[in-house]
Subunit: 325 residues, 2 copies
């Protein structure tokens, strides 16, 4: 369930475009006016406003907003204005350019349905004239046969990302009990040996359907008495184990995962504005209501309160508008 | 250009279905009647005949033909009756069940456009309730760290197949000259060292766009004075090198590649009916005319003549009907 609040009656796209244009005109910018409009329009409405703005003022709205806004607000509005597929292609590209921000890539690869991921990859082609796969895979440098242990975990992590992004998973509900038992054991042995038999683990995680994987993880817990996510990080976890855990959490319970990301983003170690923006912007139109509830249960504080104390200024107003009441 | 010859005026699907039903009725089967109809109808017409047969006789045409025909003819008609996407999903599944027939899989992964490959993978999901990726990847058993050399080549080959099938390549014409030079050198070094630095070679072959790869292979030839396909197999080639060469040929010049497959299929070592059927059935409706011309130039014999001398009976009549004049 979404948190986005769109007024029952809204002005025409042409009027919205005019108000935004007025808010940008001359010295200074009326951020409040921009937020009041954009944070309360859905993806289709925002797209029509973009088109109306371009037609009326012969100017690209996104470029104009980039020049009018700055800092966290600019980044948040920039991501928000696109529709979900465009936005995720852009987030994936930012993640690739940031020397592979694997958190964002795992989220896109594992939270989306196979068809949604495909749509993001098609948008990536159209925008960047390359595939997401090649842009991640090209970072897989170094020969694993000569790598030291920490390099090896990094190489395995990249191989995991490439596979997660590449595969077109089956999306049905059928599960194969024999495969469940076999692969739960394979995963258990790989984790127990601490060698992580990476090719098998990557194969299972990246090619099996989500229904099949959920059945495998459930069986794992019943058979070995510990959730696989805990088993992966019971000892000092390496980069590969952390990436695996993240992928599993995104597959099994994305809302719980995102509530935890938000918890960390407003946690004691200072505010992580990038993560805060990403989760709120990506989910306001989708399932932020559920994420908020989980966040509330876990932290005994509302997300509204946390955003209120951790951010300020127009950035704060914008996020609060998306988080809703 | 196709070789399939559809008469200018054809009976209705209902009449075709009736003729086929009559050809199947009672003792014995009138194979000639079946061939005369089915080998001269395009994919859409064949689909409508299937539907008409099912409606008129409450029987599945494909199952009926399977029980009426046998041997090479049965296999050929079975593959032919489907449309190209269904057929390739079926061929991929047969290849998977045959302990990974890597030739068929490489053809499907590398000859199709990214969108065509995707359609085959979607059909595979619908038919087999699993992904093609997982069905190939599950064969990647064994730990490469403990594998002997020949096992290693086999593991690398399977990893190549999984990557070729998984990636959703960019399909545009743009090429990056810097990347061309860099990756031609990477490929050259990998081949020269005979270690095949498999992860890099697989990465390049499976993730780069076809336009980019063709530019890389052209540069390779200019820079190193030898086509990469020849370099790969200049010394006694291992399984991985042969698979790489096949993938490159399917990407660069599929028609030349298929002419060569036909040449081998009717070659001195006896007839390879499976390959002969696969290539003729898959291309009769697409580009068999071009493949035939290349075949003729290479062997100084027409494909019609070769099929005529290498096969017999109704199977022969069926292939000749598809090969055309």
């Amino acid at each position: 369930m979404a948190t986005l609040a769109v007024p029952e009656t809204i002005p025409s796209a042409s009027e919205d475009a005019e108000q935004i244009w007025k808010a940008c005109k001359g010295w200074g910018t009326d951020e409040t006016a921009i937020i009041t409009i954009l944070a309360h329009r859905d993806a289709t409405q925002r797209k029509i406003i973009r088109l109306a703005f371009e037609e009326q003022y012969k100017e690209n709205l996104i470029l104009r907003l980039e020049s009018e806004l700055s800092g966290d607000l600019e980044r948040a509005v920039y991501l928000w204005i696109f529709d979900p597929v465009e936005r995720e292609a852009i987030i994936a590209n930012i993640a690739v350019k940031k020397n592979i921000d694997y958190q964002a890539i795992i989220e896109i690869a594992c939270v989306n349905s196979p068809k949604e991921l495909l749509a993001v990859k098609e948008e990536y082609h159209a925008r960047y004239k390359r595939s997401l796969e090649e842009d991640i895979a090209v970072h897989t440098v170094g020969d694993f046969r000569q790598a030291c242990t920490s390099e090896l975990w990094h190489i395995y992590t990249l191989a995991l990302l490439v596979s997660l992004v590449s595969t077109y998973r089956y999306d049905g509900d059928e599960t194969d009990t024999g495969v469940v038992r076999l692969e739960a054991k394979t995963l258990h042995d790989a984790i127990k040996s601490q060698t992580f038999n990476h090719s098998e683990v990557i194969r299972i995680l990246s090619t099996r359907s989500k229904a099949q994987l959920c059945a495998t993880f459930n069986y794992y817990k019943d058979e070995y008495g510990i959730p696989i996510t805990k088993a992966l990080t019971s000892e000092s976890p390496n980069e590969f184990a952390l990436a695996l855990r993240m992928a599993i959490r995104c597959i099994v319970s994305p809302q719980k995962y995102f509530a935890k990301v938000l918890e960390n983003a407003v946690g004691k170690a200072g505010t992580d504005e990038d993560a805060l923006t990403r989760v709120i912007v990506m989910h306001a139109e989708k399932d932020l209501k559920v994420i908020k509830e989980i966040f509330h249960k876990r932290t005994n504080a509302t997300l509204k309160h946390a955003v209120g104390t951790e951010t300020c200024g127009h950035y704060n107003s914008f996020l609060l508008a998306l988080v809703g009441n």
